[in-house]
Symmetry: C2
Subunit: 340 residues, 2 copies
């Protein structure tokens, strides 16, 4: 068992900097495309043998130091009682978005074993096959709330902010229900075998620090505090985190995932040197000539040394257009340049 990733999560000495890649099981891999040619995305997420298969694909191909459960952050939202569809053009669509108290009241806090047994099953299959740690994950409460209110992606998240600003009581009721769901969902993943968990807060960066502190941080802190009782590392990834570092320090997360927009050294300075960080190569850097990509890898590895621990990752999900050979070169470069 390769435990470099888990050691780095705990800030322990490691022989090299471990690396995994957000969305590492995905469309840039031809073997993933083959599976997807046979089944739609949601069926893939809900079929344990297939979900486990695609989770393993990047592990088999590259020398990655962790696997991440193949799933989608909206699976738990569907289990809360919303109707979910994936459109190739528009991305996820949640019909009947949350607008009123009655739509919030109708939402349930799902029992993972009952509503999402396929997740538990996938994790169990994976744990019996993987030679690297398995990361479970969930959308963070605010990010899930944006999808539930907007009904999908959004440009300026006006509907979300309107509810948040104009009806903070209802917004807080929604956040509480989502937070309970996230906690229960991730605890189930951990108990099924996930050895670390990541909360994805893709959209928290659309808020200024004051609003983040008021409307988002309390739920995040609550979720992380509960999850930490399970004894596995908790990673909190916030996209566009540069202006929120002071608040992220208070989240209680063991590891903070950093997007690519900020210099990693500045991020560490903002988080404090006792932090463990994950990140943060621009996903587009996979399109650089190899030597230039390696320069960026070296730079990030060097900056990562200023933290108590560093897990290498992209600063956002790998793009579907990414050349597979460059992903291989990236993983290899991280290991080569970071060898102690």
């Amino acid at each position: 068992m390769n435990d470099t990733f888990l050691k780095a999560c705990r800030g322990e000495e490691v022989p090299y900097t471990p690396v995994w890649i957000m969305r590492q099981a995905g469309r840039y891999l031809p073997e993933y495309q083959e599976v997807r040619a046979e089944v739609d995305f949601l069926t893939l997420c809900k079929t344990p043998e297939l979900a486990a298969k695609v989770t393993m694909q990047p592990i088999e191909r590259f020398g990655l130091d962790a696997a991440i459960l193949f799933s989608d952050i909206l699976i738990a939202v569907e289990a809360m009682g919303m109707h979910l569809e994936f459109s190739d053009k528009k991305g996820p669509v949640l019909s009947d978005p949350v607008r009123t108290k009655s739509t919030v009241d109708r939402l349930v806090i799902p029992d993972t074993e009952d509503s999402m047994p396929f997740v538990i099953e996938t994790i169990k299959i994976l744990r019996s096959h993987l030679g690297v740690p398995l990361i479970g994950f969930s959308g963070a409460p605010f990010t899930l709330a944006t999808y539930m209110i907007e009904g999908g992606s959004s440009k300026n998240f006006l509907k979300t902010k309107k509810r948040m600003f104009q009806n903070p009581g209802l917004f807080s009721l929604l956040m509480d229900k989502i937070t309970s769901t996230v906690i229960s969902y991730l605890i189930s993943q951990i108990r099924a075998g996930a050895q670390a968990v990541q909360l994805f807060d893709t959209w928290a960066g659309i808020l200024g620090p004051e609003d983040y502190k008021e409307y988002v941080l309390p739920s995040v802190k609550k979720a992380i505090a509960e999850l930490k009782k399970e004894g596995v590392p908790v990673i909190y990834f916030v996209n566009e985190c540069a202006a929120l570092l002071k608040e992220l320090r208070k989240s209680g997360a063991d590891i903070i995932g950093i997007d690519w927009r900020i210099d990693l050294k500045d991020a560490i300075k903002g988080l404090g040197k006792k932090c463990v960080v994950q990140g943060n190569l621009d996903p587009c850097a996979l399109f650089l000539p190899q030597e230039k990509m390696e320069d960026k890898v070296k730079d990030i590895l060097w900056k990562g040394e200023f933290a108590r621990g560093h897990i290498f990752n992209l600063g956002h999900g790998v793009l579907p257009e990414s050349p597979v050979e460059n992903v291989a070169a990236l993983v290899e470069a991280v290991h080569r340049f970071s060898e102690r």
Copy 2:
């Protein structure tokens, strides 16, 4: 003539904090909608009487301290030789986007008087009517480059970054041509009567600091240095600027426009106290109950005091859905709370 805005631009003492609003002439105003019901967007931009009329509309309605020329950042791109259309759904569409050396070679550096005489004419009309200073503007070179390469808006700007990373020579040729255009275009605006100019770098925040420094900053510095010779204040607005502050200090701009994601005090700390800043209320804050919006205004005004000068603005353009009465309340609140 109300010169509070220009005084604040120069960091001089002012009786109150001046305020203007990005996109203040626009769709949230019923009188603007009336004009647009008769003409399409591009015709409006290119008809001096109408462009001047809509520029004046928010000035007549609110106690704003500056007007901004009604136009679009892609007008100059069209004048460079690209075909521009506005689609209600997709926004701007530039057909035949820049991909190869020949498409870059074909672009011209337009003479404003010849190619965009309507801009000069609009400015002249405005100067004879306005009782507040007139701000001219242009897209910043990188932001214009993204539109020219992507052909419109983009989610991850992969096409832009691919060209930038894989063919830096061609990218730099493109940036040089755009920069010359921006300089010439803004000098023409200034000589026609614009009393300040703003460079909009809407998309520069998609780059990490190292890439910003390498691919964007040199053009911005060059443009700003040339513009400053004309003796009017130069404002440089960068959306998602939180991670780029150290670089923005070097831009040479008289005023840095700050988006809403960052705490204004943190922005000033990053820019240095000698800076003059503009910003940075979340456009969605216009949907807050009035008292809560006022709390945010007070907070920003208080933080603005840490800079050498502060011009109040939103942290991005006002949204079309914004309630007009809340915009009025905002302008009034800025003046009331900032009175010395």
